[in-house]
Amino acid sequence: MHALYTAIFEPGFFASPQVHVAVSIGAVVAVVSAVTGVFTVMRGQSFAGHALGDVSAAGGSGALLIGLSPLAGFVGLGVIGSAVMDLIGVQRLRGRDLATGIVLGAAIGLSALFIHLTSISSSITGVTQQILFGSIFAVTPGTLPVVTALGVIALAVLGTVGRPLLLSTVSPDIAAARGVPVRVVGLLYMLALAVSVGLSSLVVGAILSTALLIGPPAAALRLTRRMAWAQLTACLIGVLATWLGVLLAYDSYYWGASHESLPVSFFVVAIIFVGYLASGLRVARGRRCSRPS
C-alpha cells in the first residue's frame, strides 16, 4: 500500500511550496477559464479566445520593456485588443475571423519588437520562452490574491450578463427582439474574456490558457446540453486535468535516470485532449443508440 502511495506521489510532493502555489493558482485559473470558455465555445469564438492570449502577451513584453508590472500589461493590452476586435466587426461571422486575425497579426508584430528591444537593452533572458510557454511552477505566492480578485471580476461580469448573453448567443435575433442590447452584451463578454485570458496566459502560459479555455468546456458541452451542468462539468474537468498534470510533471523528475522533468503544460494538454476525444466517443455511442432501427 505504502509502495503504491509513494509511486503515485513521489517524495516531497505535498511539502513542496511550489506545488501548493501551482495547485491553488491552477484551480483558480481552471475555474475562471472553464466558466468563460463555455460561452466562448458556444459562440464559436475559440480563435478570439486564443488570439487574446497572444495579444496580452504582447502587452506583457511591452510592460517589461518600460518597467511596468507584467500583469498590468497583460490585462491592459488584452482589454484594448478585445475592444478593437469588437469594433472592427467581431459580430459578423465571416468578418469576425478576419478582424481577430488582423488584430492578432499587429499584436504579434509588436511583441516581436518589444522582445527584441528588451533583449538588447537588458540582460533578462528566457523572455521568449517565458511568454510563449509560461511556467506554473514559476508563479510567486504573492500573485494569488491579485489573480483571484481579477478572476472574480471576470466571473461577476459574466454572472451579471449571463442570461441575456446566453440568449444572444443562442439566437441573436430573438434576443434583439426581446430588447436585449446584443452589441453591449457582446462587448461586455469580450472584456470578461480578455481579463480571463490575460490572467491565465500570465500565470500558466499561452498554451495552457487556450487549452483550459477551450478543452474542458468543449468536452462538457458534448456531455450535457444544460448550461449549469456544462459549466460545472467544465470546471471539474479543468481542475482535475490541472492537478493531475501538476502531479505527473512533479513525478516525471523521478522517471528517467537523467532527472529532467517534463513541462506541466505538456501533461495538462495531453489529459485535456484525451478527455475531449473520450467525450466524443460518448456522443457517437449515444447517437447510435438513439437512432431508430
Binding site: 497572444d54 504579434i108 508584430g109 509588436l110 522582445i115 521568449t128 520562452q129 510557454f133 498554451i207 485535456i272
Partner: protein, 288 residues
C-alpha cells in the same frame, strides 16, 4: 542592402510573398484564419523536434504542419471546427514545450523561428523551398474551380458533387506546405499576418477572384520587400514590420472600400448599399 549575402534573403522573401498572397486569398475567402494561424504556430514544435533529433528544420516543419493539417481536417468533421483547431494547436505546442525542455536551444534560434530571420535561408535550402512553393501554387491551380465554388457557395458546390471534406483537406495541406516554405523566412507567427493583411486589402479593392489574387500577391510582395528594407536599416526584427505593414494594408483597403461605397451611394441615392455584407460579396463573385 543589395550585397551578395542578402541575395538569398531577397529571393526567398519573394517566393514567400507570392505563396502567401495566393494561398492567403483563399484563407480570407473561406474564413480559415484560425487554421492559418494554428498550422504555422504548431509547426514551430516540429522545428524544436527536429533540433532534438538532429534532422533538418525544414523537414520538422513540413512533417508537423502536414500532421497538424490532417488532424484539424479529420477531427473537424465531427467536432466544432474552431474548437478542434484550438485543441490541435495546443497539443502541438505542448509537444514543442516538451521537446524544448529536452534540448539546449539558443534563445536567439527560438526567437528567429517565431519572428523571422531575413538571413534564415541558406543557398542549399533555396531549391527545396522553391520546389515546395511551385507545388503549392500548382495544387491551388488544380483545385481552383472546386475550391472557389465550395468557398463561396458551399451548398451549390455540394449539389454539383464537390466533396467539401476533401476540398477542405486539400486546402489545409496547401496551407501546411505554404507554412513549411515560409516559416524559416518570416517566422511561425508572422506568416499569418502575410496571409491575412494583403489578401484582405486586395479583396476590398476588387471582387474579381483572379485580379484579387494577383493584387494580393503584389501587396504581399511590397510588404515583404519594404519589411526587409526597413529591417535592414533599423536592425529591428522583420516580423515587426511584416505585422504592422500587413495591418496597415488592411486598414487602407477598408478605408478605400468605405470611400468607394460612400461615393457610389452618393451617386445613386435611394439604392441600398453596404448593409448586405457577406451576401453582397458572395453575389458579386458568383456573377463575376
Amino acid at each position: 542592402m543589395f550585397a551578395s549575402f542578402m541575395t538569398n534573403a531577397w529571393i526567398s522573401a519573394t517566393i514567400v510573398a507570392i505563396v502567401a498572397g495566393v494561398v492567403g486569398y483563399f484563407v480570407v475567402l473561406r474564413g480559415s484564419a484560425f487554421p492559418a494561424h494554428a498550422i504555422p504556430k504548431g509547426a514551430f514544435a516540429g522545428a524544436a523536434g527536429a533540433a532534438l533529433l538532429g534532422v533538418s528544420t525544414l523537414l520538422g516543419l513540413a512533417v508537423f504542419s502536414v500532421l497538424g493539417a490532417l488532424g484539424i481536417g479529420y477531427l473537424g468533421r465531427r467536432g466544432r471546427h474552431d474548437v478542434v483547431t484550438a485543441l490541435a494547436l495546443v497539443l502541438m505546442l505542448a509537444l514543442g514545450a516538451a521537446f524544448l525542455s529536452r534540448t539546449v536551444e539558443y534563445e536567439a534560434a527560438i526567437f528567429s523561428l517565431l519572428f523571422g530571420e531575413v538571413l534564415g535561408v541558406s543557398t542549399n535550402e533555396l531549391l527545396p523551398v522553391a520546389l515546395m512553393a511551385v507545388g503549392c501554387l500548382a495544387v491551388v491551380g488544380i483545385i481552383f474551380r472546386p475550391l472557389m465554388l465550395s468557398s463561396i457557395v458551399p451548398e451549390i458546390a455540394e449539389a454539383r458533387g464537390v466533396r467539401a471534406y476533401w476540398i477542405e483537406i486539400c486546402f489545409l495541406l496547401v496551407v501546411a506546405f505554404a507554412t513549411a516554405v515560409t516559416v524559416p523566412v518570416v517566422g511561425a507567427l508572422l506568416i499569418f499576418s502575410l496571409m491575412m493583411g494583403p489578401p484582405a486589402a486586395a479583396r476590398s479593392v476588387t471582387s474579381r477572384p483572379l485580379l484579387a489574387m494577383v493584387l494580393s500577391a503584389a501587396i504581399a510582395l511590397l510588404t515583404v520587400w519594404l519589411a526587409i528594407a526597413a529591417s535592414y536599416q533599423t536592425n529591428w526584427p522583420i516580423g515587426f514590420f511584416v505585422g504592422v505593414f500587413g495591418a496597415a494594408a488592411y486598414g487602407l483597403g477598408r478605408g478605400y472600400s468605405a470611400w468607394r461605397r460612400g461615393r457610389s451611394a452618393a451617386a445613386r441615392p435611394g439604392q441600398l448599399t453596404g448593409a448586405s455584407g457577406d451576401y453582397h460579396d458572395r453575389r458579386e463573385q458568383v456573377l463575376d
